[in-house]
Assembly symmetry: C2
Homo-oligomer: 329 residues x 2
């Protein structure tokens, strides 16, 4: 009688647990397709004490690219849209821009013409709009822009153009003892003012590209001046370098969406023990955008696709694997 | 009757709390002098909800210099002693060192002669002993050294030459919601292999000087090669730069011991709200070492002392403020 009632209680407990688990699906915006299964299996494996795949909490490092992985990156990188808005705002102080490229084209609204100079032009625009002020001043400029500017297609603030399934994934990993980091080609100080509120990722867990800063005194106070000189480009082979420099541990899970993320996934993959590498594929022109090998922004080349297949990295197809892309849908 | 018994219960609770507080002094290796009082008052102030000085947990950032603040730095920086041991270990592969300075002097045991070339010589020794291998290989070299090498005066492993009062302070701050960081002029990858075990500070919360690394493939595996080129010097004006780059928030408490820490304390001081800035002063020749303005290692100049007085930064005198310096005493 006693053991029977114990069994009954045990079974009830199992039923209740199952019911709670079902009621509290941690990834409700994910379809029950391969990517979701891969995530759930991986997390169960590394968190189960005594399992051969168990990873102690302090080593549960997960790194996320930002543009195209956590938030949208079309029709162009949001930081570039920010820079273009800054050019307009700064134009009255630079009358020479009316005739000087790339600014003249930008001010006429010819963005594609302005960017024809390629990466060097882009860098020039970034330097002009991102340097020459203190870190505190730049932070305020970003905060003001992010609070007011809107995405041209979705007509929403940019920080609403974040992928709901990835927000759930970040929270789910943290609930399982993971420390989540951003490792982005984007500017570190362009992201930090809002990542904590939007992703739950604090400034000290954001890794990104940066320009040099200099400590000096201004009006009786110490400031950090932003200099017109690149410090670090956190893209491609720069991502493992940035991970090592900022985190000092190898991730056990990494999430990206483009050629710029390949080395981060390789570096994660090459560690020992259980690993999870995933790539978001933008294949939903209706709900978001569809692009890949041919796109200049967020290129997902055939070579990357071949690498993913060879290494069994999981491809997340937005169209089929996500029930919802944005919270505002 | 009812209110009287309530009062009795309330008083008992107060007595019990006081007794527990006394029994569990979080800083038992600190005398009840000004520095300990300043720490306790500061922590109470910033953690008391509703107080005008309250600081939310995510902003409770505390930064610590390492050499001379958390562990000993005499008779010279431990990393330099490590480099000298590496020169001896590498000598058989470099027969030319027998006649080439600074290596020839080092190998003859004439450390002071070898270092006569100043900072440039020191850098040459660091580059030769710290570059040319993968990050994983360097980590293993550091782990092996730290497990076996012993301090010339204390005849103990270097990781036992850490200040017990500071270990208590780190733990006390973390117990009160602080995130503790190292911000050291020392090499970031020289510290990371042991800071978690010794200080409870994980690799991602260590900021330090670094050489450049490069991502490449070797024997079918991706590695990060350590290059013979400085990347960043995290000292003096570099400390606020390193803090901004790695942490992205201004500390509310900062602890140092030498001229190299002045700018970190200034930067911390210049923020708004309650702040705590402290400098360890080495004035105990019996239990540790006594040095200050005249020392080349860990210089505490008269100018720094004047700044500390002007800004009301707290000086921790090891002799009078610490009941115990090392756990092994």
């Amino acid at each position: 009688m006693k053991s029977a009632s114990c069994l009954f209680i045990a079974l009830s407990a199992v039923c209740v647990s199952l019911a709670i688990a079902e009621a509290q699906d941690p990834l409700p915006s994910w379809n029950d397709t391969a990517p979701k299964k891969a995530i759930l299996e991986f997390v169960e494996k590394v968190t189960k004490e005594g399992s051969p795949n168990f990873v102690p909490p302090e080593e549960r490092i997960a790194t996320f690219d930002n543009d195209g992985t956590l938030w949208c990156e079309q029709p162009m990188y949001f930081q570039l849209l920010f820079a273009l808005d800054r050019v307009k705002a700064l134009a009255p102080q630079h009358p020479d821009w009316k005739t000087k490229e790339p600014f003249a084209s930008l001010l006429k609204g010819d963005v594609m013409g302005a960017l024809a100079g390629g990466e060097r032009t882009m860098l020039e625009i970034i330097i002009v709009t991102h340097a020459g002020m203190t870190t505190a001043e730049f932070e305020q400029i970003v905060k003001d822009w992010i609070a007011t500017a809107k995405h041209p297609k979705f007509k929403r603030p940019y920080i609403e153009c974040v992928y709901q399934p990835m927000i759930e994934l970040l929270a789910y990993l943290r609930a399982n003892g993971f420390k989540t980091f951003i490792v982005s080609g984007g500017g570190i100080e362009f992201m930090r003012p809002w990542t904590e509120k939007v992703y739950g990722i604090p400034p000290e867990q954001v890794v990104g590209s940066s320009i040099k800063t200099k400590y000096e005194w201004r009006d009786g106070k110490p400031v950090l001046m932003r200099l017109p000189e690149m410090n670090f480009i956190d893209d491609k082979t720069g991502k493992p370098v940035g991970i090592n420099s900022h985190i000092g541990r190898r991730p056990i899970a990494a999430f990206g969406n483009s050629d710029g993320d390949q080395q981060m996934l390789e570096w994660t993959h090459a560690g020992s023990g259980a690993r999870l590498m995933m790539l978001v594929h933008h294949d939903d022109a209706t709900r978001e955008f569809a692009y890949g090998a041919e796109s200049k922004i967020g290129t997902f080349s055939d070579a990357l696709m071949a690498e993913a297949k060879k290494n069994s990295w999981t491809i997340i197809g937005m169209k089929n694997d996500w029930t919802k892309i944005f919270a505002f849908e």
